[in-house]
Amino acid sequence: MERSKKVKLITGLVITALVIIMAVWGMIKTPYDPYSMDTSAKFAGVSLKHVFGCDQFGRDIFSRVLVGVRETMFISACVVFIGAFLGTVIGTVTGYFGGWLDEFLMRINDALLAFPSVLLALVVIGLFGSGKYQLIVALGIAFIPSFARIVRGEVLKIRNLDYINAVKLYGASNFRIIVVHILPNLKTVLLSSIIIGFNNAVLAEAGMSYLGMGVAPPNPSLGRMLSEAQTYIFTSPLAAVFPGIVIAFMILGFSLLGDTVGK
C-alpha cells in the first residue's frame, strides 16, 4: 500500500474509533445527566468540571454530545441498513432479470432520485408525524435509489460474465446464481457505498433534526443541538461549536475510510 493511502487509512481508523468510543460511552454512562438542568452553570465555559461547557439550561454539553453521537449513529446505521438492504434486493432483481420489471422499478427509482431526499423525507414525516423512527423510515426510503442503482449496474456487469453462464450450464437455479455467485461479488462495491451512504445519513439526520423533524426535544442529537444553540451563538458559541466539530470529525473519519476501502 502506498504511503499516502496508509496515512489516510490510519487517520480514518483513529477518528472513527474515537467517534465510536464516544457513542459507546454515551450508551453506558455520561459524566452528567444530559437532561438535568443546573441554572447556576448556565452558559458555563470550558472547565475541568464541564469539559465542553454548558448550554442555555446549564446542561453539560459533553454529556449531551456523547448521547447525541449515540443517537446520530443509531439513526444513520438504521437508515443505511434499510437503504442498502432494500436497494440491494431491488438492484439485484432488476439487474438480473431485466425486462418489464426492470423498466418499471427503475422508472420509480429515477423518480425518487429526482426528488431531493430531504423533500422526500419531509413528505413521509408530513404523513406519519415527526420522531426518531419516522425519520429512520423516511431517510431509509430516500436512500434506497442510490443503492439500487449501484447494485444494478454491478449485477448487470457480472451477469454477462462467462462464469455465470458456466454455472447456469451446471444447472444452477436463478436463486442459487444470485445468492451464491453474484451477491458475494458485490462486497467491495457495497462496502464503499455503505461508508459513503453512512456519511450522507449522518448529514441528512443532522439536517432533518436541525429543521426540527428528527429527534424530539429534550433528547439530544447532534443536529438538534446545533439548532438549539444557534439562538445563543453570539453569547455562547460553545454549544454550537462542539456538536459541529463532532459531526465534522465523523464525516472526515468515514470519508478517509471510504477512500481507502474498495480501491
Partner: protein, 267 residues
C-alpha cells in the same frame, strides 16, 4: 442421432430493426463425434452454440427451428427439463478463461459446483471427485490447485480447470467455444490434445468452435464453415481442406500462416 439441429434461425429484435444472426443452420452429431464450426467473427458460430446450450436469453430474441437432443427439443421444452439437461448432459467451456471462473471462490469449490447441484454427495466424496477431475486434465498439483483462487493460476491452467469442472458431471456433449483463442500456441496444442484424449477415453462428443482452421483440422472429423449466419460448406475435414468448393473456404484456408518447414501444408 444424439444431437440434431434443424433449420435453426435466430433473430435479434432491436428497437426498430430485426437482425438475423443465424439462418437455417442444419447439422447432426452422433455420440463421440467431434464437429468443428469455423468462420470469421460475427458469422453466428457462438450464437448457434449458445442456442444449443440453452443460454440465450428469452427476451428480445426469436428462435425457430429445432434443436433435438436425445429426443427432447431444447428450444421449446420447459425450463425445468432444460436445466436438468444442462447440468448433466451438456457442458460448455468458454473463450476467455479469465472471466469463466468466479474470482472470489476457490477452484475446488467451483469445480464441485456441478456435483453440488445435481447429486447428494458428501463433502469428502465431492472433494475426491474434484481432485480426480483436476488430475484428469493433467494439472501437475491437483491438491494445490484445489485450494487456490483463479487469479493465482495461469491462463492455460484456468482453461484446464474449466474443462475439469465441465467434465465432472460426465456430459455427453461438450461445447468448446473458441477455448484456445486466448492462449499461446504451445498451450493451444496441449488443450487440443487434452480434448482429444477426453473424447477418446470418455466418448464425449465435442462441438469445437474456432476460427483457427489448422486446429480444427487436427481435432475434428467433420466441419461446418459459417459465414454471415449461413452454413456455406460442410463435410469431412479432410475433403474440405483438400478441395474447398466455396471461395470463402478457400480464403479461410489461404489465410492460415504457413510454416516453411511444413512445405506450406496445413498442420
Amino acid at each position: 442421432m444424439m444431437l440434431k439441429v434443424e433449420d435453426l434461425c435466430i433473430k435479434i429484435h432491436d428497437k426498430n430493426s430485426t437482425e438475423t444472426v443465424v439462418k437455417d443452420v442444419d447439422f447432426t452429431m452422433k455420440r463421440g463425434d467431434i464437429l468443428g464450426i469455423v468462420g470469421e467473427s460475427g458469422s453466428g458460430k457462438t450464437m448457434s452454440a449458445l442456442a444449443i446450450a440453452g443460454l440465450l436469453s428469452r427476451h428480445n430474441m426469436e428462435k425457430s427451428g429445432n434443436i433435438i437432443f436425445e429426443d427432447i427439443n431444447l428450444l421449446n421444452c420447459s425450463r425445468k427439463v432444460l436445466r436438468k439437461i444442462q447440468g448433466s448432459e451438456i457442458s460448455m467451456i468458454f473463450q476467455e478463461p479469465l472471466n469463466s471462473l468466479n474470482p472470489i471462490k476457490k477452484i475446488g469449490w467451483q469445480v464441485e459446483e456441478g456435483l453440488k447441484i445435481h447429486t447428494t454427495m458428501e463433502r469428502l466424496e465431492r472433494k475426491e471427485r474434484a481432485l480426480k477431475a483436476l488430475k484428469d486434465v493433467e494439472l501437475d498439483n491437483p491438491e494445490a490447485v484445489y485450494n487456490s483462487y483463479p487469479h493465482e493460476l495461469s491462463g492455460g491452467m484456468r482453461q484446464r480447470v474449466m474443462i475439469a469442472s465441465a467434465m465432472i458431471v460426465s456430459p455427453k456433449l461438450l461445447i468448446a467455444d473458441e477455448p484456445t483463442t486466448a492462449l499461446d500456441v504451445t498451450i493451444q496444442a496441449q488443450i487440443v490434445e487434452l480434448l482429444k484424449k477426453i473424447n477418446k477415453e470418455r466418448g464425449t462428443a465435442i462441438l469445437f468452435i474456432s476460427h483457427d482452421l489448422s486446429l480444427v483440422n487436427t481435432l475434428c472429423e467433420n466441419v461446418l464453415v459459417m459465414k454471415d449466419g449461413l452454413v456455406v460448406e460442410s463435410g469431412k475435414c479432410a475433403d474440405i481442406f483438400d478441395n474447398p468448393r466455396e471461395a470463402y473456404t478457400k480464403g479461410l484456408i489461404e489465410a492460415i500462416p504457413h510454416n516453411p518447414f511444413y512445405n506450406g501444408k496445413v498442420i
